[in-house]
Symmetry: C2
Subunit: 210 residues, 2 copies
DNA sequence: TTTTTTCTGTTGCAATTGCAACAAATTATG
DNA sequence: CATAATTTGTTGCAATTGCAACAGAAAAAA
């Protein structure tokens, strides 16, 4: 389970003449890719932060996933589409590799050993993603706003190994991530403070339970 | 993308002396595995149907995933646990292969070529799972019961390639799968019928829109 | 620095959802 | 077949959540 997932370490091995992969950078706010679901695109976020966004027909915005270094994303993961448009937006400056899934399976020039490294790690990258998605499902399947918030705080605090942490979202974004109304969420955060579950200043949270 | 995922075709190649894998069968209602999150277990459902179940502290039951032929599951996908116990329950007679993740990476005896086949297909199995989970997330992130139901019906009808289909759950289970109250769901189904979105007899549904 | 935009925090009210309880129908089990 | 257990369908009521609207704070842009 302790595999070096940091593919940017291997970037120097990527042949610059390699046609199977594109490397691009994006500024905050730019759209990295939109899921048109035809090209079988697979993307690797080498560096930065980005969100996968969906707007439904009522204008509700959902942050479907939040990506950081070495996360993968792309149309390839959305075969069964349920209508709404999805797109990935850079939240900070991002460097992204773009592949076409079918090309990935083929070997490149001998000098371009990056492909092989990526293929070797693909299982691990997928496994990582499955774990992330399961965590996400656990949060979304919670029944109340309070449970979603506490569950989310618990996940963050586990990752940071500490009871005090910074929320990596604005509160507006957090509501869109947990798929709840922002004002209702604010109300619940207030009650969590009153009930002694958390302390909060800015977007720094301290858990007071367990 | 058209890879033969049906691993049961390769089962005859599994060496019976192979110690790296266990094969077991289960009757309806039996617990296939419980996620103790220590053994790094990876399971493959060769044949049958099973549900991954979670009970929260208030006694709410959630069907986290529904597994059919060639689906994979296991602790390995739940590194970041958020407290509640998870277990997999057979809904029909099931045949399951059990692996320990780390063993999987090692080669077995020469006569046991099944391992290699499995390893080769692991990426595809993962990819498949990621697609499933993304669909699941899309449903769970919908804001209303109506949207969840319509979204779910759309997914099923896409898989079956037809506007009439059988729900593979009891309605009680469907509510637990969509993470909503059963009676509220029944009320919404009734309104969907009244509003002319669906027809329903038993657990056979016909979509009347689009 | 000033202006504009976005984000936070709050609240009343309406709509949706969950809860509890029950009868009827269906399915499992002895 | 008879009985038990589970599932479906329904409803009134309570609790939760969403919506709308706004003011102040903070952040971004000019």
């Amino acid at each position: 389970m302790n595999i070096d997932l940091n593919l940017s370490n291997f970037m120097e091995e990527l042949d610059h003449n390699c046609k199977k992969v594109q490397k691009k950078s994006f500024q905050k706010g730019e759209v990295i890719t939109s899921y048109i679901a035809k090209r079988n695109q697979l993307c690797l976020l080498l560096f930065g932060e980005a969100d996968l966004i969906r707007y439904d027909l009522n204008g509700n915005r959902t942050i479907v996933e939040h990506f950081t270094n070495n996360d993968i994303f792309g149309e390839i993961f959305y075969t069964v589409n349920t209508n709404n448009e999805l797109f990935v937006e850079a939240k900070k400056t991002c460097t992204v590799l773009f592949f076409i899934y079918d090309d990935l399976q083929q070997k490149c020039t001998k000098s371009c050993s990056f492909h092989q490294v990526l293929l070797d790690r693909l299982s691990s990258l997928y496994l990582n993603k499955v774990i992330e998605l399961n965590t996400r499902i656990e949060l979304l399947s919670k029944r109340t706003i309070r449970e979603k918030l506490l569950g989310y705080f618990y996940v963050i605090s586990s990752k940071n190994m500490g009871k005090t942490f910074q929320i990596p979202f604005s509160l507006t974004d957090l509501a869109d991530y947990l798929s709840i109304d922002r004002s209702a969420m604010m109300r619940e955060i207030k009650m969590l403070k009153e009930d002694g579950f958390i302390e909060k200043s800015g977007n720094r949270i301290r858990l007071l339970y367990k």
